[in-house]
């Protein structure tokens, strides 16, 4: 189906790693020669030669260096290797830049020339490991049995020696690996570290001093369990875990490109995610809602809002090539859906068969066909967006009621208009001159009528007239509000366009026609597509996809989500590449544990909270994060989970914690349209029209949690982007954690920080009184959630004393200390 010529030269990518079978035409090489080839020669060929002489894309000069046989055959210039007189080989001439010059873009370093010279002198040995892949991976029994693709089998719990350490099955799997490697699990974390860890983990906020004190005082065996249950029941849980999901679905509230326009009602999707998590909605339903909420048996406002999933991406409202733009939009959906729900980089086979995974190009277009009926987000103007991507979400009975209200409102207005008109008609003939003309304009009428009150118009008629007009004014002001609308998916109708494989991804180069289908490596069973009614709003295809993704048998779905839960609790996934479970993904560190979690998740009704509970109650989770020299040297990456992974706060946690510490955070208000915290003018200056699309929120609004901050693609909030918030143009499975000087500049000099430090200081002064020691203690409590040591208090007091000696007023000294406290590593990092 696909000729090697169609393949792009990424072939060298995996050659050093993946054991593709050897080609038959290679002679068996002696061991030393093979080793020399693999270790020294092959990397040079891969880096400098194969892109032209690799036998895949274009074979320049007819020379193919991928096997000894083809090398000895030579190319258009004849033989390039002279086995009898190796030094005279044309290949050596070329790399020495004599007659021919290879590689053309620059002479090789001397060391590499020497390696190749030695190799030629050795008689150009190859090894039995192939040097390049010939053709894409096949969809065969072996591929289907790849660890990620095969069915999940619930493994038995492994036997361990230190049984007392095992609090739940998670611990058994972790401990078994530790024991096998001769490791001990780290001791338990202290109570405060554990409380901070779990509180941030589950709700993204620090524990309050009262919560700390209560936990320290509670010596009951289930003290920690009670904390976990309290946190899981908190409404702030959805605000924390919703953010993880929003990263995956490239959640943003604008379209990017020139106008970067706001997406109408997009925040309802964010609220849907938060609510779903707080309600502990089963994940299978969460999947169905988002992929096919409009095609379910029971369509609800929530399920319509959930399909906003399809509308979160970029939108080019004046594409140079509209057809290509449509396929780019579909690609965004294929990419996000493939990686988010299935951990598959389906997107890699848009132009050619997947280079790494057993995903033929055809599979891409079969997958795309599920979405092909989706109308583009809009054509250009807002009306087109409204037409293609907005729907009212009132329930039928609400809509009926609303219709009645609107009809009644109109009837009353009409009635009033008639009465008012009747009086005006009576007056009009009595008017004279200019007034008669003026009266033609309705706006002038009340003035004219009132002028003649008691004259042409009786007081009685006038007061009636005035009453009628006031009533109408009031009625007009209180029109029934428009029906609630949601940003959502819509389709062109029951019959989507036909889908074709596009050669090299080019919309003009149609190949074979394809029907919707699941990735062939995952299942042999094809989808059963419904035959929609002729007046149906959509094809029903996405429902079929959603049911397949959410089905209990879909091994990838459950492995991927179980791994994501683990990733966010433990700092990294069991599979580190949490959106790539393909051949190039990182293999699981604990495959049995992953399968056990996947199976447990399914059997407990695909509900998140039970899994959170299981994970955070495990002894694995409760381990200390302290480094221990021996294990650290042997397993610096902590692949064995011998300790807990310490971490820096995420961008949202940084901002929310600053607001929380200063006592300023507005936790009460959840949901609704997004907020606009102040952005410095220097940053706004980067826009083509500074300030455009960034509103102004009241101080109370601006102090809400970061998940409610407006996500404008071309204008991220500086503090969030500085601390590595997700880039929103594509799905983001794992965030960076960077350390850069601009963070420190913003944290010390930035307006937001200095303002918050002021609020913090005022609050501390109010609560702790005038004693400087008490103030320092209170401030440190807020940022570290523990009783400070005498030394720490002393240091703070001394700092403020010195500032006072420099003639800095007490309130300002206190404010500076608050600023310092907000910069502590202990504030920014969790053990």
């Amino acid at each position: 189906m696909t000729s090697p010529r169609q393949l792009i030269g990424l072939s060298i990518l995996c050659a050093s790693f993946w054991p593709w079978s050897a080609r038959a035409d290679q002679p068996m090489a002696d061991a030393a020669g093979a080793k020399f080839f693999d270790k020294e020669v092959k990397p040079i060929l891969q880096a400098h030669c194969f892109s032209c002489h690799g036998g895949e894309k274009k074979l320049k000069g007819g020379l193919n260096l991928t096997s000894r046989a083809t090398l000895l055959e030579g190319g258009d210039h004849g033989e390039v290797i002279d086995l009898k007189k190796p030094r005279a080989s044309l290949l050596l001439d070329a790399i020495h830049y004599k007659d021919k010059k290879m590689p053309p873009r620059g002479k090789l370093p001397q060391a590499q020339i020497e390696v190749l010279t030695k190799w030629v002198e050795m008689g150009v040995p190859y090894s039995d490991k192939a040097v390049v892949r010939h053709g894409p991976p096949k969809v065969d029994a072996k591929a289907k049995n790849f660890w990620a693709f095969r069915p999940v089998k619930r493994p038995d719990l492994p036997a361990v020696k230190k049984e007392a350490w095992v609090r739940n099955p998670i611990d058994a799997f972790v401990l078994a690996k530790l024991e096998a490697a001769g490791f001990e699990p780290a001791p338990p974390a202290d109570k405060i570290a554990l409380l901070r860890r779990v509180t941030y983990d589950l709700i993204g906020l620090p524990p309050t001093p009262d919560e700390v004190k209560a936990f320290l005082a509670d010596n009951a065996p289930d003290a920690y369990e009670k904390v976990v249950d309290r946190l899981l029941a908190s409404p702030h849980y959805g605000e924390r875990w919703g953010r993880h999901w929003l990263d995956l679905v490239r959640y943003a509230e604008t379209d990017s490109y020139e106008r970067d326009g706001a997406k109408p009602f997009v925040w309802r999707y964010r609220d849907y995610v938060i609510r779903s998590l707080n309600e502990d909605k089963p994940y299978d339903q969460f999947i169905r809602d988002q992929l096919a909420g409009d095609e379910l048996d029971k369509v609800t406002p929530d399920s319509i809002i959930a399909t906003g999933y399809y509308r979160l991406g970029l939108w080019d409202d004046e594409p140079a090539d509209p057809l290509l733009a449509m396929y780019d939009d579909l690609d965004d959906i294929v990419t996000t859906t493939g990686q988010t729900f299935l951990g598959l980089t389906v997107n890699c086979c848009r132009c050619h068969d997947h280079k790494i995974d057993p995903l033929p190009q055809k599979d891409y277009y079969r997958f795309l066909a599920f979405f092909h009926g989706i109308r583009r987000y809009g054509v250009r103007a807002f009306e087109t967006v409204a037409a293609a991507s907005l729907r009212p979400i009132a329930l039928p009975e609400e809509a009926e009621l609303q219709k009645k209200k609107i009809a009644e409102h109109k009837r009353r207005l009409d009635e009033l208009a008639k009465k008012i008109e009747a009086i005006e008609t009576e007056i009009e003939p009595k008017l004279e001159g200019g007034e008669k003309d003026d009266f033609k304009f309705p706006a002038n009428r009340p003035g004219i009528v009132s002028k003649h009150a008691g004259g042409l118009v009786t007081f009685e008629t006038f007061s009636k007239y005035r009453g009628l007009r006031l009533e109408r004014e009031k009625l007009e002001k209180n029109a029934p509000t428009g029906m609630a609308q949601a940003l959502c998916v819509t389709e062109v109708g029951p019959q989507p366009p036909e889908t074709f494989v596009l050669a090299r991804g080019n919309p003009q180069a149609k190949g074979d026609k394809v029907e919707p289908g699941f990735p062939s490596v995952l299942t042999d069973v094809g989808p059963v597509l419904p035959t929609p009614q002729s007046d149906a709003q959509s094809s029903g295809r996405r429902r079929v996809l959603a049911e397949w993704v959410a089905s209990k048998d879909n091994a990838l779905t459950w492995r991927v989500i179980a791994n994501r839960l683990w990733q966010h609790h433990f700092g990294r996934g069991i599979v580190r590449s949490s959106s790539n479970f393909g051949y190039q993904g990182t293999p699981p560190t604990h495959p049995e544990l992953l399968d056990w979690l996947a199976s447990e998740f399914v059997s407990s009704g695909t509900r998140f909270k039970a899994m959170h509970r299981l994970m955070v109650l495990s002894n694995t989770y409760r381990m200390s994060a302290q480094p221990i020299a021996g294990p650290l040297a042997k397993d610096p990456e902590n692949d064995l989970m011998w300790r807990f992974n310490p971490r820096r706060l995420s961008a949202e946690e940084v901002r929310d914690s600053i607001l929380a510490a200063s006592g300023n955070i507005n936790l009460k208000k959840m949901f609704g349209p997004s907020i606009y915290p102040k952005i410095p003018a220097e940053v706004l200056a980067g826009q083509s029209q500074p300030g455009l699309g960034w509103g102004k929120s009241s101080p109370e609004e601006a102090a809400r949690r970061s998940i409610y901050v407006h996500v404008k693609r071309s204008l991220p909030l500086p503090i969030l982007s500085a601390f590595d918030a997700a880039d929103t143009d594509a799905t983001c499975p794992v965030r960076f954690t960077t350390t850069q000087p601009t963070q420190a500049l913003g944290m010390i000099n930035g307006e937001f920080m200095n303002d918050q430090a002021k609020v913090f200081a005022e609050d501390a002064a109010k609560n702790a009184g005038n004693n400087v020691q008490d103030q320092v203690r209170a401030i440190l409590w807020r940022v570290t959630q523990r009783e400070p040591t005498a030394k720490e208090i002393e240091r703070g007091v001394r700092f403020m004393d010195r500032l006072r000696q420099d003639n800095i007023a007490a309130p300002e000294a206190l404010r500076l200390y608050c600023l310092l406290a907000l910069n502590l590593n202990e504030f920014m990092f969790l053990d």
């Binding site: 880096a47 873009r105 029209q689 500074p690 143009d729 500049l745 502590l824």
Partner: protein, 488 residues
């Protein structure tokens, strides 16, 4: 890296792999044992003791570079090639003639149009005899140092997507800017300044704002830093007004005491150490960056060379002079925008060519000529690559029934390069007799990008970043050859 990538994981560097895998910077620093040469270069933080590697520390190029740094003079809005450097004698005397010519701009596809004869005379300059329009009398005198590429093409004739293409190689947002790629590949030589600086036209930023200097899927420290040509150059660089240096120092010292105690109790966690060192780095930046932008150290003669003594060229002249000071101090990539905001505030001459291009060329002619001359006399031109151009060019025909305005044109336009191993006095590629579309040797934006990377010692096909299941490249998965005709 000239050494084979044998230790790399599947073509990724260890570093990329770890990022992809979510280990983050902390874990990367932790894995100094990995043996990668990236990690072997352990530096010491500003305080002299804490081991800290700035992620922007310099890295070796793939091969010996011709240029160390880039100044990209971005003529936002799209300067017209036939009115500037692409001389079309065939257009003269044909004003208002209707001709059959295929065009595509914001007004859509057209098959004919009314010729707008260029309103400027061209004359020959230099020993190469290059024809340059009277818009650039000063720059004209520098043609022997310039290589013109007349056959540029791009994928979109719309500002938003074309800007992204010229800046990041793709018409879709979310991809790292050229400056991010360069810093990713080479790091930067001065740790007290950002490695990728963007200076905007005071009238406003370009369309899509920060998307044009975003690091896309790469970490945020690789994104462009906006630098202002007056006042505080970088966001949050200045201490708040009421905080003295002594107070800030006291704050940082006390902070450090707390942080070191905290770190000691947690063994040698490099992420904690990095954050401690980071405050010192920021402190140094505070004092260093203002010096870099302090033009009082420059002579009047120099300032005048850049046209700072004339009102119209004062701002761009200042920015060009700043650009020189920045590359002198080891900043890797500087982008200066001529034009911003909307309509005639940039080179987007839809209505009146004479007004629009007269203004923008007037603002930039002397500063750019001054920059080339100044770099040259300081011996810096050889190692500084100057890139000039917009996101596309303009059509030879009129956009409207009357007037001289021209619509966008991505079928053919001119960009030029100078310095940094670029051959002077050459012109490569051509457009048709009206300058409507590339004719001989058409080049795409990716070839320009490949050329820029190549001059910096980076192989455009080997500068890769693993993301979304692919080894991503600035020049696209299929790779691109640099334009060798313009190289020395």
């Amino acid at each position: 890296m000239t050494q084979p990538r044998i230790r790399n994981f599947c073509g990724r560097t260890r570093r990329e792999f770890l990022w992809e895998a979510g280990a983050g910077f902390g874990a990367v620093a932790l894995s100094g044992l990995l043996g990668d040469s990236f990690f072997a270069q352990q530096a010491v933080a500003a305080d002299g003791t804490t081991p800290f590697r700035n992620p922007l520390a310099p890295r070796p190029p793939h091969f010996t570079p011709k240029a160390k740094s880039v100044i990209f003079l971005f003529m936002y809005g799209g300067p017209s090639q036939v009115d500037t450097f692409d001389y079309k004698p065939a257009m003269y005397g044909r004003d208002n003639q209707t001709v059959a010519v295929r065009t595509f701009g914001r007004a859509g596809h057209r098959n004919d149009g009314r010729i707008v004869e260029p309103r400027w005379r061209f004359r020959q300059y230099g020993s190469c005899g290059k024809w340059v329009s009277d818009l650039f009398p000063n720059l004209g005198q520098c043609v022997d140092d310039i290589a013109f590429i007349h056959s540029m093409t791009a994928d979109a004739p719309v500002h938003g997507s074309a800007m992204l293409m010229m800046n990041s190689g793709r018409i879709l947002s979310g991809h790292p800017a050229l400056g991010s790629w360069v810093n990713y590949g080479l790091g930067t030589e001065n740790q007290n300044l950002p490695g990728f600086v963007v200076m905007l036209d005071p009238r406003g930023g370009p369309i899509s704002g920060a998307k044009n200097w975003s690091s896309g899927y790469m970490p945020a420290y690789l994104e462009g830093t906006m630098m202002r040509s007056s006042g505080t150059p970088i966001l949050d660089l200045a201490r708040p007004q009421n905080m003295s240096d002594a107070t800030q120092r006291r704050l940082l010292d006390t902070l450090r005491e707390y942080n070191e105690e905290h770190q000691t109790a947690r063994g040698n966690n490099p992420a904690l150490a990095a954050r401690i060192a980071n405050y010192e780095l920021a402190y140094r930046m505070q004092s260093y960056a203002p010096e870099a932008v302090d033009l009082t150290q420059e002579t009047e003669e120099t300032k005048n060379l850049y046209g700072m003594n004339e009102r119209r060229s004062e701002v761009f002249g200042r920015q060009c002079l700043l650009a020189r000071r920045l590359v002198e101090r080891g900043v890797r990539f500087v982008q200066v925008y001529s034009g911003g905001h909307h309509n005639d505030a940039n080179w987007d001459a839809h209505g009146d060519m004479v007004f629009n291009h007269g203004m923008h060329a007037g603002e930039t002619d002397k500063p750019i000529a001054g920059l080339i001359r100044d770099l040259k006399r300081r011996g810096l031109l050889d190692e500084t690559l100057i890139v000039w151009g917009g996101e596309f060019g303009r059509q030879p025909t009129a956009e409207y029934p009357t007037g001289t305005g021209r619509d966008h044109n991505s079928y053919g336009f001119t960009m030029w390069l100078a310095g940094g191993g670029i051959k002077g006095g050459v012109s490569v590629g051509s457009t048709d007799e009206l300058g409507a579309a590339a004719a001989e040797n058409p080049y795409h934006v990716k070839h320009l990008h490949a050329t820029i990377l190549h001059q910096l010692g980076l192989d455009p096909d080997r500068l890769t970043y693993f993301y979304s299941g692919l080894d991503q490249k600035l020049v696209g998965v299929e790779g691109a050859e640099p334009i060798r005709e313009v190289m020395t």
